[in-house]
Symmetry: C2
Subunit: 460 residues, 2 copies
């Protein structure tokens, strides 16, 4: 279904002809985001430069009932920005300015298309930390981070994106521009639209400016590693760490499959005989960091760690973190298609969940490696299959359906930080129930009466 020529002409007059793409070859690259197995081209790709242009596009789209899918870098992993019903893909990467960093107010104001890394580096240059740390930070945009409520490696100590959003400028699907929140740490005037829009995945409004809280940069950071025979042992060590009053910046795990893949890939000298690897780290004042690292190392040893090493210097610390950071590329090398998933369970049930994943993988004859955030109970089971084998893709879908069901059985959720998008929507009802699904649809209508914004996703 092509766009009405009149609509196309209006789009061109709003953003300028050079900022609209609509020929088949031009729109084809925008059919996908970072999610495998989902593809659907838009009818037009539109690159606005200002809030007023976004508002004009949305008014036009509502008037003509044309779907609009807002998108930043397209680095999301749940097909949240795949234009399932065609229409307009509204790409916000031209709006990429960091507008302000206030060292006095500890905040940054930016346009949505600024990358996470750009914002974090601009803050760091002023001695400030942007705490959310999603894996995609070098390419992901802050607008996308807010739209997906992105998580990352520092969630336990620092929380997720939601905890840092102070204010938003948002264009409603009907074209009104609203400003929620502001520059304030405390503000309870009206419903918390700031948080409702955070994580709404482009279904309720288009974010055109973000105001995000920053923190003083920690003076130092350090990392240690512990190997265990099993993830159950590692899980007990995590529980002991928290029970001893330490809420560390880093508590990441790799299962046996991941350890092997990473060692094969990066030759870091990891112990491939171990059943699980636990990275633990903290940041802050040097004496506190040293004390916490020592304490965590001792607690790991008490829980039967095969080996514990605390980094003596920054370079060693970086090398250890590299083991976690390269889990995904390392697993990817095992075959031609990588399906990275994202479930969360209550922290004490982490080992049980990994056991379930292993059983599912065996049942479906799949290689699934699992790594993730042990402190949050947030796991990333990752299947690696032959892209040319449709049967393997089917087995992967079936396996993940069972993994989501297992997470729910263990009081967990179907997505901890990646989002619902199109990929998880079939499982959302199992998580929320009929009454809550109906309520989400009514909320969606309150924002988007014509249903033009990111249709076929949450709220549709």
């Amino acid at each position: 279904m092509a766009l009405d020529p009149g609509v196309l002409a209006e789009l061109e007059s709003i953003v300028g002809r050079e900022h609209v793409r609509h020929r088949e070859g031009e729109v084809a690259p925008y059919a996908r985001d970072a999610t495998p197995l989902f593809s659907s081209p838009p009818d037009a790709v539109v690159f606005p430069a200002r809030t007023e242009e976004v508002a004009a596009v949305l008014r036009l789209a509502t008037a003509h009932r044309v779907p609009v899918v807002p998108r930043g870098a397209g680095s999301n992993l749940c097909a949240a920005t795949v234009p399932l019903q065609g229409g307009i893909l509204l790409v916000l990467t031209r709006m990429d300015r960091v507008l302000e960093i206030s060292t006095e107010e500890l905040l940054v104001r930016a346009e949505p298309g600024a990358t996470t890394a750009t914002v974090a580096e601009a803050a760091a240059a002023q001695g400030l930390l942007f705490a959310p740390d999603p894996g995609s930070r070098t390419v992901s945009t802050v607008g996308g981070n807010v739209a997906t409520c992105a998580g990352g490696l520092r969630g336990l100590k620092y929380g997720v994106t939601r905890n840092y959003v102070l204010g938003l400028e948002v264009v409603l699907p009907t074209g009104e521009v609203i400003r929620t929140g502001g520059r304030l740490w405390k503000d309870v005037a009206g419903y918390d639209l700031t948080r409702l829009l955070t994580g709404s995945e482009g279904t309720l409004g288009v974010i055109t400016e973000v105001t995000l809280a920053l923190l003083p940069m920690p003076a130092t950071a350090s990392t240690g590693v512990a190997y265990f025979s099993s993830l159950a042992d590692a899980g007990r060590a995590v529980t002991q760490v928290l029970a001893h009053g330490v809420v560390p910046a880093t508590l990441e795990f790799l299962d046996h499959t991941c350890i092997g893949a990473v060692e094969d890939y990066a030759r870091l000298g990891l112990r491939t005989d171990a059943g699980a690897l636990l990275l633990f780290g903290d940041d802050g004042e040097p004496d506190a960091v040293e004390r916490n690292l020592t304490r965590m190392g001792e607690l790991c040893a008490d829980e039967g760690a095969l080996e514990v090493t605390v980094a003596k210097e920054v370079a060693q610390s970086e090398a250890l973190l590299a083991a976690r950071r390269c889990s995904l590329p390392a697993l990817s090398r095992l075959d031609t298609l990588t399906v990275l998933e994202d479930v969360t369970v209550p922290r004490p049930r982490l080992a049980e969940m990994v056991d379930r994943i292993e059983a599912v993988a065996a049942r479906h004859d799949l290689v699934i490696g699992t790594f993730g955030h042990a402190g949050d109970g947030n796991l990333h089971p990752t299947a690696v299959i032959d892209a040319r084998d449709p049967a393997a893709a089917d087995r992967t879908h079936a396996a993940f359906a069972e993994i989501f069901a297992a997470a729910l059985e263990l009081d967990g959720t179907i997505t901890g930080e990646h989002g619902v998008g199109a990929a998880k929507l079939p499982y959302l009802r199992d998580r929320l129930g009929d009454d809550q699904m109906a309520l989400l649809a009514r909320i969606k209508t309150a924002f988007d009466p014509a249903g033009i914004l990111n249709p076929g996703k949450t709220g549709s």
Copy 2:
């Protein structure tokens, strides 16, 4: 307007006759909450004991279009629980059990009527901290804390109630029971109803269970005090503290009027010649606390503090905090009616806001003392007037209207932590604008199509 006798009989059959009050003398004490100058009696006061009873009451109310106002302790300061249109006051204080404390998962699950202090003490008994610390904590309920997104003295370092709500059980006005969130630190499945309901002041649903995050109890805490000639000097000291990488647990201020009133009341030996008093404090490991206290003291001295004292022992620390905690009772003694307000401005504009408040007080011939949370930019201007003088009440209303307008002019908000309720609703449009007000009303309708829940408040 009395309740239909059939509805009354049904209410009695749902919760038991002894848990419904409807005679004039019985309902009169429930006409008010802790907010002065607002009063309107309910037709019936109903005390449910279980979620199913709450659901049955709401189904009945929706069917018969009877207003329902949910209430905990009624300690809110914005007339959020005054039943403006009569109907049913649904008091949740019988549902007051602490259901679970998990030291492994760092969370507490409780019924809404449990008091904040009860929950905090149950957590403390297990070595855990419930971080939100509203002034009303000994009487306020956790359900009310969530419904108002209560703040408190530790907001800068620890955030507000919103940051600790992991999951809710909520009864919708139409009677469906939904569970949002759960026991998870990371969960992005669906719109963030947990946060939308937090701070919705009983207009969207009735909270029947809360799951709240806890933290390890800090090993120690300490407090210091600095006197300044002016609030402008104190404000600069606050900026310097944050600029030096310290995010302390406590940064509270009292203006000259408050210092005098507190000293008169409690004889703590405060310097009544000072223009402002700044309390600074931190908690955590002893060495870090000592270092931060010393650093903050030095920074205050650098900014021209008249005098700086860091507590040498716990008792001295407690005495200093008492100065802040008794500000309100101390001010109350100055006359017969106390109107405590709540605005927030960006932190660097704190001194400017206090200047504005002083000018407004002088213009309207009122005594207004201001104290509050310097780290959050959250101020509590407090007018003390003669309760028998209607002209003074009028001048107070006029003065606060000007104070709210001044806060908005300075990029602030009309309420930082107390809420909107009936008291601030006339000013909400100035804060949010027409488009956002219309959106709030549509969201309200998505939850409450019959408009029975807390009518005449936000969303109405």
